[in-house]
Amino acid sequence: MSGYAADVATLARKDLLLELRSRDTLPAMLLFVVSALTVFHFALPEDSSVRAETGLLWIAIVFTALLGLTRAFAPEREGGLLDGLVLAPCDRSAIWAGKTIGVMAFLVLAELVALPAFALFFHSLSWELLAAVALADVGIAAIGTLLAAIAAASRARELLLPLLFLPLAIPVVIGGVGASVAANPGSFLGFLGLYDAVFAILSWASFEYIITE
């Protein structure tokens, strides 16, 4: 394994281990997403459209991700630990990459519960929907981790993160709903792929400047 990949693996493993020990984030994400889908199930009329149901799933996914992102830098913030990581001789973008993998892992685990629940409450899952969710996870985790790092440095972090993240998540909802219900899902999946590529490169390249003064 190259040095960079080893650093990313070390940092991602650390985040997974921290969550395994503290169980702060994942249970909250699971509870939220299942609760949200349950509320939507009872709120929507029987004859609601597939588009409306799918739209609500995407809203649930985005807000579940936001919940996870709020806690993404909590261990580092509470102990001033970002200084320790910034001082380490690894490429600072490895901190972003490791954290992104951790965020994505929690999101995927939440979706492993959320998607069957959605299928139970609403309608069956199509391969287009699953592909869109997989692509969206990458983009959400990539840009969300960068924004969580920005917010973590602010006193108004709980307010700042949603303000930064939700506008940037709108394309994910548009792409996700489009890929799930439109006649030409390929173009929406392509759009999500492009979103992932643009924001992953942007976040990777700018993270060093975000975490250093």
Partner: protein
């Protein structure tokens, strides 16, 4: 190794350091003293590259990997064990024979028996010992120590004295108790 010329740092309107002149040669051991809020911690953070000066020049002739930084906070994860914390930093610093080195540091600072306990269960003194282990783990050429004896008991302080005495690296040490390190110091910087 460290040279500062007219170094200034402000946080908004608050002036923390102004026109500081400092020269620390390789192997120098400089004590930084001054009352609370005089800029001791800020000076160490500037030298570590954790914050940028707002004026003047600062040259630190040491790459990131050769800096050992001991902060107010221990910079360890409370949910990880002492050994896991050192192993994490050991991996990031690519320390050869990492496990042996981590074990040796824990042994040296009296934490070997607590190696598998989470850092969150440690007392203040144990956390400081773990932070010292972390700071010295990669055998740094430049030590930036902020109140290194904080929280240490007599035994812990003695361990740190011995470590500092045998460690020939350049050091900048912020302290409220300069007498305790007077014999090791080559210079003293008093901040107002």
């Amino acid at each position: 190794m460290i040279r500062a010329h007219k170094l200034s740092k402000r946080f908004g309107d608050k002036r923390v350091l102004e026109g500081l002149e400092l020269e620390v040669p390789r192997g120098g051991f400089v004590l930084v003293t001054g009352p609370n809020g005089s800029g001791k911690t800020t000076l160490l953070r500037l030298c570590a590259g954790l914050t940028a000066p707002t004026g003047g020049e600062l040259e630190v002739d040491a790459p990131r990997r050769s800096i050992g930084f001991l902060a107010h906070e221990p910079l360890v994860y409370r949910e990880l064990t002492a050994l896991e914390n050192l192993d994490l930093y050991g991996r990031l610093y690519r320390i050869p024979e990492r496990r042996e080195r981590c074990g040796a540091m824990l042994e040296r600072f009296g934490l070997w028996r607590s190696r598998n306990e989470r850092a969150g269960t440690f007392s203040r003194g144990m956390l400081q010992r773990l932070a010292i282990c972390r700071s010295f783990l990669h055998d740094p050429d430049l030590l930036l120590l902020d109140e290194p004896f904080d929280g240490l008991d007599t035994e812990g302080a003695k361990m740190l004295y011995l470590k500092l005495a045998e460690h020939g690296s350049t050091a900048l040490v912020a302290t409220h108790d300069p007498k305790s390190l007077a014999s090791r110091a080559t210079a003293r910087l008093a901040l107002a």
